[in-house]
Symmetry: C2
Subunit: 197 residues, 2 copies
């Protein structure tokens, strides 16, 4: 059982290196992306949707050209464990999801996924071995159509200088940047001198 | 001039491989993350904020343990070209941004960043060489404090089965999942039989 062009072990290695831990969701995510890529509709260029920010975006970023920073991966957080790959112009796509109907054969996966066991009660060795054995067997698949213009990141448009902070920002955000407009994530800001090492 | 533990050339190689192209913003992003990591406040564990989804999240994901999927990187889209690394419990952090006051010495960077030239009028060789020569010289730095509980991804909480689609979803989203509740990104959904290759 390979995951895209990687052996299972190679993929685990990439997961550990990129994500920092052998997250079960990211291993299932590897099978999800693999199954999606094997069932793409017609087309040359495909963008991705993750329906949750949890784990899955990293499977897409490891296994496809789509990343958050290049805008080809969009997280539409509707809380389901699913990835869609869609043709970037027309929007025809394939959606792969974890099928709850298929969980009964894999009780350790079921109890982990549906949070029926606390972390300390889980048998992580059994969980990982059931995930590996099940592979695509946990998954369902749908043909979908998305509206790429609605889903993809909007172009930034013209850039201005915020009169308050002096930084560049997209003029479409208004007369000042959104930070100075009240959406700041910071409780306190103090200028610093640069320390180069 | 290194970028974190990589030589400049090694970093360019990683950018090309992960992001798909040698995006100028992602090269500046490398210097931003490098400067932030060299000026961290006290602490052992640091999470990241990107103030834009454009390019910068990939610099963070390439150069730090923080990714979208593991939740240690949060995109707070307030439209500025800045990265903050903050101590994950207390919220003390360092914010590094592209300082518009420093752009005059680097006219090709200025015209690209402020969108004063169309793409076909840009001299991309000159742009990349000015970025490389400028390095940290384009950047400003601030000490900031964030509220980690407000910024970090919330825990998912208990999981239920959506009565409409039959998929698992976070119960906090309501009596059905957000897709079935009307937030679907799909215009059409058709079940598919699995095709394994």
């Amino acid at each position: 059982m390979n995951i895209c062009t990687y052996s299972y072990e190679e993929y685990l290695h990439l997961v550990k290196s990129f994500h920092g831990s052998m997250a079960p969701g990211l291993i299932i995510g590897g099978f999800i992306v693999d199954l999606a890529l094997k069932n793409l509709p017609e087309g040359d260029f495909f963008d991705a949707i993750c329906e949750t920010p949890v784990c899955l975006p990293d499977a897409v970023q490891i296994l496809t050209p789509c990343t958050i920073g290049n805008g080809w991966l969009t997280v539409v957080n509707i809380g389901r464990f699913a990835v869609t790959m869609y043709e970037k112009f027309g929007g025809e796509g394939v959606r792969v999801f974890l099928d709850t109907n298929k969980l009964e054969d894999w009780p350790e996966v079921r109890d982990w996924y549906l949070k029926r066991k606390k972390k300390q009660e889980q048998n992580s060795e059994l969980l990982l071995s059931q995930i590996r054995e099940a592979g695509h067997g946990l998954l369902g698949m749908q043909s979908v159509r998305v509206d790429p213009d609605r889903i993809r990141r909007k172009k930034m448009g013209p850039v201005g200088i915020c009169p308050d902070c002096g930084e560049a920002y997209p003029i479409r955000d208004g007369k000042q940047c959104r930070d100075c407009g009240g959406e700041t994530p910071y409780k306190e800001v103090i200028p610093l001198n640069r320390v180069d090492h």
